[in-house]
């Protein structure tokens, strides 16, 4: 039972009909930014969204 799922690149995500518009929009707006700064911001965003998820769903 090995269900490998390689991380898709930006192009694959933009082409994926199942990917959310929010994600596509974020990817497109990040495309013109410095990749280091974009990833740095994305990590902060991910951590912030996780904090919200834990708070709202009371996950500990």
């Amino acid at each position: 039972m090995n269900a490998t799922s390689p991380l898709p690149n930006s192009h694959a995500i933009l082409e994926d009909p199942k990917a959310s518009e929010w994600l596509k929009s974020a990817l497109m707006s990040a495309a013109t930014r410095d990749p280091i700064e974009a990833l740095n911001d994305a990590l902060v965003l991910a951590a912030s969204l996780e904090e919200r998820l834990r708070r709202e769903l009371d996950l500990r």
Binding site: M1, A3, T4, S5, L7, A47, L53, D58, L59, R60
Partner: protein, 239 residues
């Protein structure tokens, strides 16, 4: 001479990296659960520990978390994924938590080149038990735990809405009966019940299996639902 032993996985996860029929489960030693790791399930499967050829068979779960990619190792991860309540698949947002440790006996055997067993030695080790579910499962458990903690809640309504809590409320009632008979001081009684209720709620919150209380004499439905909240006191917080 080759070594035919089962080794405990290293790397901070005190799980056994392989499992063979020689394992004999001795007991489950409950331990306070670890923190909940949240991430997107990107991959899972059987592999030698740390993907090293000279290590024992194990099971890995790869997660993409907000702090980067993480790989969990442990033989029990396979059971946790395949027999959990929500059975997560790749792409799901999941939570993974170490739920406790299982004491196991590991037999280390050394064999001669012809396969003959030269020595055999039993060791005690621990295998980590995991809870791996979709994140919605843990959110639901948090809701159930709040219901159980709420002493003012209408038990009948709560059990109707969440029948899976019936055993938990039966346990609370059993504790109330015990406290009424055995604990003289009302403050001690209340403290005992509060601790007991909180321990049960915390266990539910962590995602551990819900209690399945079996009664000697099954109660009628009406009896199950007659747990009354304690009378409100003047110093209770306003709701």
């Amino acid at each position: 001479m080759s070594k035919d032993s089962d080794k405990a996985a290293a790397g901070g996860i005190d799980s056994i990296a392989s499992q063979s029929p020689r394992f004999a489960t001795r007991q489950i030693r409950p331990r306070r659960g670890g923190s909940l790791l949240v991430g997107r399930l990107t991959d899972h499967g059987r592999a030698n520990y740390q993907f090293r050829a000279d290590e024992n068979a194990s099971y890995y779960v790869k997660l993409l978390t907000s702090r980067g990619a993480k790989t969990l190792w442990g033989k029990d991860l396979e059971r946790a994924l395949s027999s959990g309540e929500t059975r997560p698949s790749v792409g799901d947002l999941i939570g993974a938590r170490r739920a406790g440790r299982e004491a196991v006996t590991v037999t280390a055997r050394r064999r001669a080149a012809d396969g003959r067993i030269v020595t055999e030695e039993a060791h005690y080790a621990h295998r980590t038990r995991w809870i791996v579910e979709k994140v919605q499962f843990f959110a639901e458990r948090a809701r159930l735990a709040r219901r159980l903690r709420d002493e003012q809640a209408d038990v009948r309504e709560t059990v109707r809405a969440h029948p899976e809590l019936k055993s938990s409320f039966l346990s609370v009632r059993a504790a109330q009966d015990f406290a009424a008979r055995r604990i003289a001081d009302p403050r001690d009684r209340e403290r005992f019940l509060s601790l007991m209720r909180e321990a049960m709620a915390a266990s539910i919150h962590r995602g551990e299996p819900l209690p399945a209380v079996r009664l000697r004499d099954p109660l009628r439905k009406e009896e199950v639902l007659t747990i009354k909240p304690r009378s409100p006191r003047l110093d209770d917080p306003t709701r």
